[in-house]
């Protein structure tokens, strides 16, 4: 079995990973991008246009794909990463056991982790019944594979994700029975920041029923269909059951930090994000030499911000490896400005991202002082 040697290895072919690879390839570094999915883009192809409009994920990716394909990045797709060790050795395994395993080991001088985020499950008895899925699964079925998750669908979790998905499922021909909260605590949006009352108002504008005050209790079999039992929150009102053929659980997302922790990067709880985030500095560097994080794993929201952050990580990696052009500092400043702009645009859509960035900056300063003192 062979070893593939490069200068930079990137885990994750979503917006952040692509951004990093764009910069490192442009600067002449041999760049390898690994992803479990069979195609580049991460979750982007499954993303819609957003509640306030904009390009669909597929349209957004088309522009980035053209730039990536013009470069010399090598993609290793359909491959899982199961080991990461410093300075840097990445071991992989194919998703398809009949696929070629070579090169299964990839070595590089710098590692950029752009592993994205994962949905936090909404705990609900009956979640294992076939037909109960996460928002990510329903989005992928709809927008990547053009398959309706069900013909009669209930969504659990009142947030921007469930609202947009309900709207798009209805537009594609599904009957959306309604949206209901699914846990004792609000599931919020991607990061639990958006005001639930404004979401319910938005749902009304979209013609989607939100069962305000109700709570999904369990999913049961109803003959060949599924039943979603809903309590009213009042002792005198009985439970009701929605008969559906699919239930979509729309939880919040949290950074997928496994690989970062495996690589030895400390994580810190960020209250403003409600999640653990790998510690990182202003150029996406971590306390581990040669290790960078970018995108949703680094606690940022939105594909534009992730792309900008990936570019920054790629440039910082190139500077570390001494491969950067003479104008690297100016290029880095430009990348920082692009990131700030993307974060500000995200803030206008949904407040909170700037507070997360401020917290991450102060956590970084605190650990830098701590390290200097030892």
């Amino acid at each position: 079995m062979s070893v593939l040697r490069g200068d930079v290895v990137v885990v994750g072919a979503g917006p952040a990973g692509l951004g990093a690879a764009l910069e490192t390839s442009r600067l002449g570094l041999r760049t390898v991008v690994i992803d479990e999915r069979p195609a580049i883009g991460g979750r982007v192809p499954a993303q819609g246009a957003g509640l306030s409009g904009g390009p669909s994920g597929a349209a957004w990716l088309a522009g980035v794909r053209a730039q990536v394909e013009a470069g010399a990045t090598r993609f290793v797709l359909g491959r899982s990463v199961w080991s990461v060790s410093p300075a840097w050795r990445v071991l992989t395994a194919p998703v398809d056991p009949t696929a070629d395993v070579d090169p299964w080991e990839i070595e590089a001088r710098a590692l950029v982790l752009a592993t994205g985020a994962t949905e936090q499950p909404i705990p609900l008895p009956g979640w294992t019944l076939p037909g109960v899925v996460t928002a990510g699964a329903a989005q992928t079925l709809l927008r990547v594979h053009h398959v309706l998750v069900g013909s009669r669908v209930a969504l659990v979790g009142v947030n921007a994700t469930s609202l947009e998905l309900a709207r798009d499922l209805a537009a594609a021909g599904a009957e959306v029975v309604g949206i209901v909260e699914g846990s004792p605590w609000p599931t919020g949006t991607a990061d639990a920041r958006t005001d639930p009352a404004s979401l319910v108002a938005d749902a009304g504008t979209l013609g989607i029923a939100v069962h305000a005050g109700g709570r999904a209790e369990r999913v049961v079999r109803l003959g060949g269909a599924l039943g979603l039992s809903i309590s009213s929150g009042r002792a005198d009102a009985p439970e009701q059951t929605w008969e559906v053929d699919a239930v979509v659980l729309c939880g919040r997302t949290v950074p997928l930090t496994d690989a970062a922790q495996l690589a030895g990067c400390p994580v810190a709880f960020v209250p403003e994000r409600g999640a653990f985030v790998p510690l990182h500095g202003p150029s996406q560097e971590t306390p581990v030499p040669g290790l960078f994080v970018a995108g949703a794993v680094a606690g940022i929201d939105g594909r534009d911000a992730a792309l900008a952050q990936g570019r920054l990580a790629g440039l910082a990696g190139a500077r570390l490896l001494g491969a950067a052009a003479r104008d690297i500092e100016a290029t880095l400043r430009h990348a920082h400005a692009a990131l700030d702009e993307a974060v500000a645009a995200g803030e206008a859509r949904e407040p909170g991202g700037i507070a997360v960035q401020a917290r991450l900056a102060s956590l970084w300063q605190a650990q830098a002082i701590g390290r200097a003192g030892t």
Partner: protein
């Protein structure tokens, strides 16, 4: 309807594959889980403890609820596995043997 809807016109599915001994067809770019979902198949395995039907849950490779058997190898995630002509997958079953 626009991009991303189920109404997109693209002809009949033309990649033949097998699941649990039955023939299905899907499109290039389909994952096994998506092609089966389109065909109305959501139960992909039986749980080892209780034998309950299980299927795709997270759809992005994290939860392993959709695992199937391919080429004698257990634990293959149907939500990430692209279909290809002649692919033959089977259920993971309670008794430890793949059904053919």
């Amino acid at each position: 309807m626009g991009e991303g809807t189920v109404h997109e016109q693209r002809g009949a599915p033309d990649i033949a594959f097998w699941f649990d001994g039955r023939a299905y067809a899907g499109y290039a770019g389909d994952t096994l889980a998506a092609a089966l979902w389109r065909a109305g198949i959501r139960s992909l395995r039986n749980s080892p403890g209780l034998g309950e039907a299980r299927g795709m849950w997270c759809g992005v490779g994290h939860c392993y609820e959709c695992r199937v058997v391919v080429d004698g190898v257990w634990g293959v995630r149907a939500c990430l596995l692209p279909i290809r002509e002649g692919l033959a997958a089977t259920r993971e079953t309670v008794d430890g043997g793949a059904q053919g």
